[in-house]
Structures are given as C-alpha cells and as structure tokens.
Symmetry: C2
Subunit: 318 residues, 2 copies
C-alpha cells in the first residue's frame, strides 16, 4: 500500500494538463449517465456533540483498474482545537482483487478540485460561447477554485464578485488579482448578475441569493453550493426562465440541490432536468439569449476520475 | 495515523482476556438494541469480472472515542493469482474531530473473531446451561474459531463435526484435537444433531442442511453462515419447534439470514424474533427441553467493539 500525503497528491495532480483535467471530469459525468458506473447511495454518519458529518462516497467505473472509497468529514467546532473543519481522503483498491493499493490523504483537495472542474465542464458544455464577464457569489475556497478552473475553458478574466463580508471580499480581490483576474467588488448579488453572463454560486446559503427578476437573457448559472438538504442559492421561480436545466445527477438533484425546489413547486417537471453526462454525449444548441442552469451536488464518479489521474502516475511496483 | 498490520492486530487482540472479549461483544449487542449506536445501512459494491463483493460497515456507539469504517472484500477468483479470497480492514477516526487515527489492516481477522465471539455470546445467553456435546456443521475458518471461542463459556470439549469433504474433516480433526477437543467425525448433519445439544452451523450453503424432524428437545442452534441473501442452513419449518428465536439484528434478519424464511412462510411472526441485545438486557429463562435458535448475520457494532479493544491498547501520543 502506498500512502500519499496532501502535498504529494497536490504535486501530482497539479502536474496534470488542463486538457486531461477537463477530460477526466467530462468522462466522470458520462460514466455516471451512461450506466457504466456503479455508484451506490452515499453513506452518512452524523454527530451531535460536537457537531459533525461524515460522508462516504464510493463506486467503480467499468473497466477502471481501481474502485475508490472516499471518506469526507466536517466537524464544525474543530477551529476551537486548531484543526481544519473539513477533512477527506480517498482509498483506492484493485478492482480485480480487492487489494488495497493506495491511501490518498488529500485532506479534501481532490474534492475541491473536481468540484471546481465540474463548474468549468458545465460552463464549457452549457454556458455561453462568448463569456463577457464571470460573476462569483461567495468568497471561499470554491469561489477561488471555480475561477481558476474556468481559466481552462475561457480567456475571460473580468470578474464581479459578491460576498457578505467586506474583509473577505478584499482578501479575495488581492488573491485573485495576483492570479491574473480583474476583480470588481459588487455591492449585491444583483449587481453581479447585472454585469456577468456566467455566474457561479458557491455559498452554503439556506436562502435564495439570486432572483428571477434580476437575471438577464444569455446568463448561465452554475450553482454548486447546495450540496446537502436545506441549502438553496437560487430562487426556484428563476427556473421558469431557463431553456436548459442541467444537473450532475437527476437522482440527487431531485432530493437536494437547487432543482428539487423548482420541481416541488411545479416550476419545471422532472423531464426538464438533464444530466450533464447526457448533454456531453448529445450536445445542446444554445442560443445567445438563452438562460441556462447547472445544478451540481457532487457525484462519486468525479472522485473516481480525479483520483485515477493521481493513481495513473504512481509506480506500484516497488 | 497509526497503521497496524495483521500480525500486530492479532498480537494485541490475542492478549485481551476472555472476559473482556465476551463483554465487548455483549456490549456490542446491547448498543445495537438499546439505540445508543448509530449504524447506517451496510454499503455494497459488486463486481462481475472477476466476481467480487465489497461491504462497507460503519457506525458509532454513543460516547465511544472513535467511529469505525470497515471495508471487507471477497474476490472469489483470487486463488488463481495466489491471493486470499477475502480481505478486510477497519479505519478508526476520532469521533470528536474526524481525524484519522488508525488503520487496522487485520485482513479480516477481527471480523472472524467477533463473529466467533457472537456465537459464544449466543450460547451463553440463549443456549443450554449444561452443554453435553458441541455439534459443528462445516470445517472452515468459522468451524474452527466458533469452537475456540466456545471455550470461553463452557468446559465441554466433546465435538461432533460434519462437512462435505472427508479430507477437510480429517484436517479439522487433527487441528482441533491439538487444541484440546475430542473430535468425532459424523457421516451426516443428522448425526451431529443426534449427538449434540449445542449446534453451530458455519457453511455458505444455499439449501437447508438441518431439518425439523432431526432436532431433539434441548438443542440450541447458532446459525452464522447465512450472511447474505440466498443463503440458508436451517429448514424454516424447524422454527416452529423453537421456544426462542434470537438474532443479532431484526432489521437484517428479516431481509436475509435464516429467520426471514420462517417469517415469509408464516412459521413465526416478526414479534417472535428477539434481538440478542434485548435478551442480554432482559434474560430469558430457558427450560432444559427448550429448542432455541440464534440467527447471526453480523452487525457493525461488533466491529466497533472489537476494534475498540485493539485501539484501547495503542498509545496515540508519539
């Protein structure tokens, strides 16, 4: 068994070409949607005192050399003892023998990366051809990583960002300016929507931040913050304006994420929801003024594919 | 993170006193039945080519310092490449922070041990006071370990064993004689039933091996082979003679194991099924001629408790 620590995982994955990163996540969506992946329901273990959540995502893609089990935790009081609140690791087993091959102690980095790549893949296949400005709602890890991964699919560097904390907004501006973006701080989500035609929402909000009345023709929204029941970033009425509603997993997005609010309220039907894997296989023709939405909740095939990029570069013969 | 290899796990657990071993499994049954354990449904991943099964059992017992995730695999063609067909490991995480504490690479030994201990605990709480002879159906790992663990709760060393292969029977006799038992080889399961009042069935049989007409008053049967759907060791009609039908988990035993065949065929009702944890808390009074059954399918609290016995002896301060 090999053990890779976070720094080693990071070094390996950061050496992968942009094309291979994008392709791996495209393949993860296709594998999920075309039935070649075995992806059982996510395992969950909850804790009250102190509060914590543990998620086990696992699965196998047909003909892949490994099956992957990802264990991710969030213990929200960890800051009181000087530990990060979230952690994660992936375990790779030989799919022909069950032998434990590798422990990827990536501390959640691979999850962050595949989540950001899913945003870029969504923008590539569903978003506008001509991205004039990128809107970002939120100032956390994904607000940064989504932007960085969008570099792989667009030359646009104009960014409008909104977050609740002025201090965090300023930090974000400094940091992302250093990475080659032109960052304008918006005073409201509405200002972001007004200035951008590709918007990424990255918050853990429990209430809508962007509304139907604010959205302009030609806008694409990638909503990736609502990864658990109870969270919502987009007013469900906005779905009535969308010509395409895409999601990573119909099964998951009818249970949590953004789409289920729209379905439950009769704004769209189940048949209006299309998996990104299906769209990659059968591309849509987007008209310039179309409003589109990608609802991302995170699926195990993304974990499998991103882990595989690391595993492919490891020499398992000692 | 500590990593313990199979030999290290074995050395630690083999130093634990018989009393503590029995107590830990008693506590595991109580925790399962009294609601102090969080035990989500078992995760499963199946493989066709080559054939394999992966089970993820996980959970947490209230106030325990660790939560445990067990990953166990069976790849049935592994013998063709010189590997064991089954493997297993347990991962311990700090229940207050989610920090990965220990990888127990026990290769399934802890599972084998807790399964055998569950047989001993069943015999102790449900079986006859005066064990005259022990019957064993099967000659594999559990046929050996169940017998060894029964040493912890009875002085009886008279054993009648049956298995399909004469060669394996002879090996079993030699090996278990060396461990202090008097082993008689039976020509049929019926002969075993005729000679023993504590019978343990340990086979992966898909068809009943022991029948209603063969069972004598005063017999207790611990059935532990039927750990997955489709397996059956006991004719379901035999349940009509049982004064007590015990199981590790009502939920699991109504889905697989032995009891569900009896329930589905109307031989017993759901209310006739009692969890061993409940019986330990509210002991039954067994009459000498009573026929009793313990149906064991394996539950995560057993894994948690047996792992805890190992973890308790590790110094996590470097």
């Amino acid at each position: 068994m090999k053990i890779l620590h976070a720094s080693e995982v990071k070094e390996i994955i950061d050496s992968v070409s942009p094309e291979d990163l994008i392709r791996s996540i495209e393949e993860s969506f296709i594998a999920y949607s075309n039935g070649s992946a075995s992806v059982p329901p996510v395992g969950y273990l909850g804790f009250q005192d102190p509060p914590g959540d543990v998620h086990i995502k696992y699965g196998h893609i047909k003909d892949d050399p490994y099956y992957i089990i990802k264990i991710a935790s969030g213990f929200y009081d960890n800051y009181t003892v000087g530990l990060p609140t979230s952690d994660g690791m992936m375990i790779a087993f030989d799919a022909k023998t069950g032998v434990l091959k590798c422990l990827l102690k990536d501390e959640g980095y691979l999850t962050d990366l595949r989540t950001a790549l899913a945003g870029a893949v969504s923008a590539k296949h569903i978003g506008p051809k001509d991205i004039k400005a990128i809107g970002v709602i939120g100032t956390g890890v994904q607000a940064r990583m989504q932007l960085e991964m969008l570099k792989l699919i667009t030359d646009c560097r104009e960014v409008f960002v909104w977050g609740r904390s002025k201090e965090n907004l300023e930090k974000y501006q400094v940091e992302m300016t250093a990475k080659g973006f032109s960052i304008a701080m918006a005073n409201s989500p509405s200002e972001v929507l007004n200035a951008s035609n590709l918007v990424v929402t990255t918050t853990p909000s429990m209430n809508p931040l962007i509304y139907q009345r604010e959205i302009l023709p030609g806008t694409h929204i990638t909503a990736m913050g609502s990864d658990a029941p109870g969270k919502q970033e987009i007013d469900h009425n906005l779905f009535s304006k969308a010509s395409v509603v895409a999601c990573d997993s119909k099964l998951q997005c009818m249970e949590h994420g953004e789409s289920h609010f729209a379905i439950e309220n009769g704004i769209i039907g189940e048949a209006d929801l299309h998996e990104i894997g299906e769209i990659i296989m059968n591309p849509i023709s987007r008209k310039e003024d179309d409003i589109t939405i990608a609802d991302l909740t995170g699926i195990a095939t993304q974990d499998i594919k991103i882990a595989s990029l690391v595993l492919d570069q490891i020499d398992f013969n000692p």
